[in-house]
Amino acid sequence: MPMFYGTEIASRMMLGTAQYPSPAVLAEAFKRSGAGIATVSVRREAGEDQAGQAFWELIKELNVALLPNTAGCHSVREAVTTAHMARELFDTPWIKLEVIGHADTLQPDIFGLAEAARILSEDGFQVFPYCTEDLVLCDKLLNTGCEVLMPWGAPIGTGLGLNNVYGLRSLRAHFPDVPLVVDAGLGVPSQAAQAMEMGFDAVLLNTAVAKAGDPAAMAEAFAKAVDAGAMAHAADPMEPRDMAAPSTPVLGKAFLE
């Protein structure tokens, strides 16, 4: 099971907590999927006098590890301020760091991300950076002190799946010991299974579950796909090949021509 900053989590699935029809449906999605980590946004909900408290109490009742995020932050300073607010509110050094660089695609600002990751890591935060699959960026993030990487599969909320399979595969190959989580862009369970078959440690979902007609059922479907993919990876899948290989010998021929 995945280990993040020394904490082992009993599930390979993380769930976001936004956009559900109700907190009750959200709770049901966690129950049926067994997701081990809940991400929670603080920036917009905080308001004055911790006005989001009632909702956060419901999230705390889920009894899973909480990973506050800096969703909606477009600058280093905003992200750092939000991270500090989150640490105070949730009493955890964990922070999922998002620094958005492009309003339309919600693509991370990779330069701001590396800078914010450095500032927060030096300040004792344990940073989960939402990043692209760029190898050089990921290397820099690890150098700033990150011990987890959360590359996107596709832009947030698109449901397009793994857009750059080659890039993600090469990330896995280059950083065999770093926990890698596919963060954004998954739409259906088969895409989550694909990420797990490639050896990723976990996936994080929100829109695909929250916006499904039956969020709790979709959460469970994802959980099954994640388990299947992880099990397949551990079972060492066969290598694909171009030539057919009959599973029973072809009579009368020593070799296929």
Partner: protein, 327 residues
């Protein structure tokens, strides 16, 4: 048999309950420390869409079914109910949202550009497809609730800002009832009121957008209500620039003529909701009946809630939204 009831709260729920009970012969008084309906209560900031079918996209079947009682009930109270249906549109690249919305809802007709132009010429210029939710209606919530207040007062319902409750107490205080209903939470909403004489729309329009969903309700005389954000926060003030910008941007995308509109009001409040976002009627150990959690469905569900409270108090019929005693 005569029943004496004290309703706490003169928001949409309190007034609907008072109306239903007094119509059935109960002696009713309403107590609200803030006086008659106004900007202090979240009923003031509602959109006034009686859009049961649209709400089916996300809400439970119960909300849709009970919501269908609303238009007829409001009309029976003398409200000016506009039976013009509502429209649902999506911008070019979000067009698939429209198919998804159609899959999840009932009672709609797909319109092509010509049909849309015939209903709302201003939208026909901008969109080539829409859904017409033909059974929906809308009201002006402020006029409606003020008129209901006056009508009840004329009928002999007494209104006060303090005083001792007598008889059966029905607590309709909304978010203020958190002192007795610990599960209640606030869901912040921000809205904008514009005057846009260059835009002509005669029925509510929903713009589907994955990030910034918007609805626009015409209030007559070129005035439109734009709503509404939905933020998990109990904060009842402080509309943010970001939220207002999102609402205005979405309106501008719906029709560029909104760019020339006059900004009349920016409103903010928090809707009272339970964890399942469904309404509840419950009995407290204090003997009160609590009616709460109507979330974003105040005007849509208040009529059904009022009916159920009256059925319970006068005929002993248990409300289908009954929730066992809290605490």
């Amino acid at each position: 048999m005569s029943l004496t009831v004290t309703v706490l709260g003169a928001g949409v729920v309190g007034l609907a309950v008072a109306a239903e009970l007094s119509a059935r012969g109960a002696a009713v008084q309403v107590i609200d420390p803030n006086g008659p309906p106004g900007a202090h209560g979240c009923s003031w900031w509602a959109g006034g869409m009686l859009a049961a079918d649209c709400e089916g996209e996300v809400a439970e079947e119960q909300v849709v079914r009970l919501g269908r009682e609303a238009a007829g009930w409001w009309q029976a109270q003398g409200a000016e109910v506009q039976y013009r249906g509502s429209l649902v549109v999506a911008l070019g690249r979000d067009r698939r949202e429209l198919d998804r919305f159609a899959r999840r809802t009932e009672n709609h007709t797909a319109l092509d550009q010509a049909a849309l132009s015939a209903l709302e010429p201003d939208l026909g210029e901008r969109f080539d497809r829409a859904l017409h939710m033909g059974k929906e209606a809308h009201i002006n919530p402020r006029e409606t609730i003020l008129a209901l207040h006056d009508r009840l007062a004329a009928r002999g319902v007494s209104f006060g800002t303090d005083g001792a409750p007598s008889g059966q107490v029905v607590d309709c205080r909304g978010l203020a009832a958190r002192d007795a209903l610990p599960e209640l939470r606030g869901v912040k909403g921000e809205m904008v009121i514009l005057r846009a004489p260059d835009v002509s729309l005669s029925r509510p329009v929903r713009l589907l957008h994955p990030r910034f969903p918007l609805y626009i309700v015409p209030r007559g005389d070129g005035v439109f209500m734009l709503g509404a954000t939905q933020i998990e926060s109990g904060e009842r003030r402080r509309a943010t620039v970001r939220s207002v910008m999102e609402l205005l941007n979405a309106a501008y995308a719906l029709h560029p003529a909104f760019g020339e509109a006059e900004l009349l009001e920016i409103g903010v409040d928090a809707r009272p909701a339970f964890p399942d976002n469904l309404p509840r009627i419950s009995g407290g150990k204090d003997g009160r009946i609590y009616v709460n959690g109507l979330f974003r469905h105040g005007y849509l569900l208040a009529p059904a809630m009022a009916r159920m409270v009256a059925d319970w108090l006068m005929d002993g019929k248990k409300p289908e939204v009954w929730h066992e005693t809290h605490h």
